[in-house]
């Protein structure tokens, strides 16, 4: 595995730490941090800053019985949440989002496959599987998009992106990522723009035929 060269910008790490990042992007951040010690250290730094703000927040008076009620629960049984391990190219947070199941791929044609993890008003996040030499489905339809490489690599106007690298693009960026030779490229892609290409076949295939 080559070194990660494309990292998360600071405002996304800060927003993740503060809990304001929409879930599709938060999944990309958690996945990149799982692979990148650099950004893990930066995230810890943002948590430290959050800790300073927490320490200096004005106190609110507590109900009298709150402490006793909590202390009385310390010996209660509790269920530990399951921990999802990395499986092959898929980091723990992706496995958790898939509830431990392997991705259910849907063909988009020409060997390109996708697995939508979630799609809603907060945006969408999905896995993409792109054979070598194929273009990624066009996804610059406005808004912010984050693409994290989990296997293989792709190249576009922004450079070469290998495992762990994350490309940050917005509507101003015109780019056509193409999977490099070698293993098929598997990416985790999040966007806050509506997904446009699982209903209309012509629109769906058009970007692929661009190559």
């Amino acid at each position: 595995m080559t070194a990660i060269t494309h990292h998360l910008p600071d405002h996304l790490l800060a927003s993740y730490a503060a809990g304001t990042l929409p879930q599709p992007f938060a999944l990309v951040v958690a996945s990149h941090v799982s692979l990148c010690d650099d950004c893990r250290a930066s995230l810890e730094a943002h948590n430290a800053a959050g800790g300073v703000v927490l320490e200096t927040t004005l106190e609110e008076r507590l109900s009298k019985d709150l402490k006793a009620s909590i202390l009385a629960q310390l010996d209660d049984d509790f269920v530990r949440e399951p921990v999802y391990e990395r499986e092959g190219a898929l980091p723990g947070p992706v496995m958790e989002a898939l509830e431990g199941q392997p991705p259910k791929w849907k063909s988009l044609g020409l060997g390109v496959k996708q697995c939508i993890i979630s799609a809603g008003e907060n945006g969408s996040v999905r896995l993409l599987h792109i054979p070598p030499g194929q273009a990624m489905p066009d996804h610059s339809h406005g808004g912010l998009e984050l693409t994290l490489v989990l296997q293989g690599s792709f190249s576009d106007e922004g450079g070469r992106f290998g495992v762990g690298d994350v490309e940050v693009a917005n509507e101003d960026v015109e780019h056509t990522p193409i999977a490099d030779a070698g293993d098929p490229c598997i990416c985790l892609a999040a966007t806050d723009a509506p997904l446009k290409f699982n209903s209309l076949m012509p629109r769906l295939l058009q970007p692929i035929f661009k190559i």
Partner: protein, 185 residues
């Protein structure tokens, strides 16, 4: 020199909770954090009652997940901040926040407090740096970490000293990064 006793009270309480399931130390953590936590949670606009439910959930998580606390990696306040954010997203937004993989780490048979101490010193410098900011900048920092700004708003803030803040803490975290590299290899 006994570096353990040079650590902050909160860190010592948290270690006692983690290693000895010390309820008195947990009570001390409650006294230190609970009222602040309630104030922090109420800044997001929830009622006093729901805020106390969240405080209760956060404090129980602190007790139950104490084994995940590593003073070499995070200060107690940073760790509690992170736990609070997770619980708030679960309980207010009814979503599950995606969480990075935990670092798997063998328990250190001979814990060395010097790394924890160095991290605490960096955190103290960070606190001082935030307190020295001009009032308007400090307010923005508070709003960022109170969760009052979207990622778009954070990126639009010009002159926000996020980089400065980060580099402060990163001084201490550089050592952490080397440790992480060692653990992975």
């Amino acid at each position: 020199m006994n570096t353990q006793s040079a650590l902050s009270q909160e860190t010592q309480w948290m270690i006692a909770v983690r290693d000895n399931r010390d309820k008195a130390a947990f009570g001390a953590l409650f006294d230190h954090y609970a009222a602040r936590l309630k104030g922090f949670v109420m800044r997001s606009g929830v009622s006093s009652g729901q805020a106390e439910e969240i405080v209760q959930d956060v404090m129980l998580t602190v007790w139950r997940k104490a084994d995940q606390f590593d003073p070499n990696r995070a200060q107690v306040s940073a760790w509690v901040y992170q736990v609070t954010r997770n619980r708030m997203i679960d309980m207010i937004r009814k979503e599950r926040r995606p969480i990075p993989e935990e670092l798997t780490q063998e328990p250190d048979p001979e814990p060395d407090a010097s790394q924890s101490l160095a991290l605490e010193q960096e955190a103290t410098k960070l606190r001082e740096a935030i307190q020295r900011l001009k009032p308007d900048q400090r307010e923005i920092i508070e709003r960022v970490y109170l969760g009052e700004l979207t990622h778009q708003e954070i990126s639009n803030q010009t002159g926000l000293p996020l980089g400065t803040i980060k580099s402060r803490v990163r001084l201490g975290l550089e050592r952490l990064r080397h440790e992480l590299k060692g653990m992975r290899s």
